[in-house]
């Protein structure tokens, strides 16, 4: 039980530290014979976890020897300003998937939420159905409608049903 907990603590350490020292720390834990020692080591692991993530950011991705300033050929020392940083491919892919999922979830929540806080109206995508042509009727048989702009036609169709019926009865 305590060993499993200690393994979990080791897995939570920064990758560089875990790869380099994880096996050895577990080996030391296995040397502990008494339960009190094991408890102490778990506490030590917790403290180490906080220290590595909080104070040792330079060792998160492994240990490399300290850079030594090398003098240039003209005698003036050259200094390294910024280390080249390149994120791992897996981290980029994970970030992309996570961003897409969060974006979709946010859009879904805004669209279908019962609490409309923002009063943002997301228009629905409408696909116009193609005109249905009856097999027996030719194009010449169809009565020609007066040329009405498409927007006016749509406005007419948006009128509620009962009102439309009354207006039809009046006409």
């Amino acid at each position: 039980m305590l060993r499993s907990l200690y393994c979990c603590l080791l897995r939570l350490h920064p990758p560089g530290f875990r790869r380099r020292f994880g096996d050895e720390m577990l080996s030391i834990f296995d040397q502990a014979s008494r339960r009190a020692e094991a408890f102490k080591l778990v506490g030590d692991g917790l403290f180490s976890l906080a220290r590595q993530w909080g104070l040792r950011s330079e060792f998160w991705h492994g240990i490399s020897p300290a850079p030594t300033p090398q003098p240039a050929s003209d005698g003036v020392p050259s200094f390294a300003t910024i280390d080249p940083f390149r994120p791992r491919t897996a981290a980029v892919v994970h970030g992309l998937v996570l961003s897409t999922a969060v974006f979709c979830l946010t859009c879904f929540a805004i669209r279908y939420s019962w609490i409309h806080v923002l009063h943002v109206r997301i228009p629905e995508v409408q696909f116009e159905s193609p005109p249905v042509i009856e097999p027996g009727a030719g194009t010449s048989a169809m009565p020609e409608e007066p040329a009405v702009p498409r927007q006016e036609r749509r406005a007419k169709n948006d009128v509620p049903g009962p009102f439309r019926a009354e207006s039809g009865a009046e006409g």
Binding site: M25, I28, S48, P65
Partner: protein, 122 residues
């Protein structure tokens, strides 16, 4: 070398004990812990978290180098560590500094006279 080594002084107690434990021979992590406990007569005990946190800094500063695993060891997970020449110089500088501190402390303590409180008259 000593001029450069003095820039890193004083060492933390953990770093000093780790360097000191590696001064005589190469050791693995558990061996370093045991040696530190033996040197301090059990008064200073290093946990693995503190040990490897200091080791990674010492390796980065090139005071300690990692030798890897040894085939004949009881536990194949153990890695051995060795003190480099830079680390040996830093340890020597720290030992000289501590020797100076001890000498000064002894001198001050010998010069100080014990004060006996005078009895008050009634």
């Amino acid at each position: 070398m000593n001029d450069d080594a003095t820039n890193f002084l004083p060492l933390s107690p953990a770093a000093l004990h780790i360097l000191l434990s590696l001064a005589a021979e190469d050791r693995h992590g558990y061996g370093i812990m045991q040696e530190v406990a033996r040197q301090s007569e059990g008064k200073y005990k290093l946990g693995p978290g503190t040990l490897y946190d200091n080791l990674q800094r010492l390796i980065r500063q090139q005071w300690v180098e990692e030798l890897g695993r040894r085939s004949g060891d009881d536990d194949p997970r153990r890695r051995y560590y060795r003190l480099t020449s830079i680390g040996r110089g830093v340890l020597a500088a720290e030992a000289a500094r501590l020797a100076g501190v001890v000498r000064e402390a002894r001198l001050r303590l010998q010069m100080a006279k014990p004060q006996i409180p005078k009895p008050r008259r009634a």
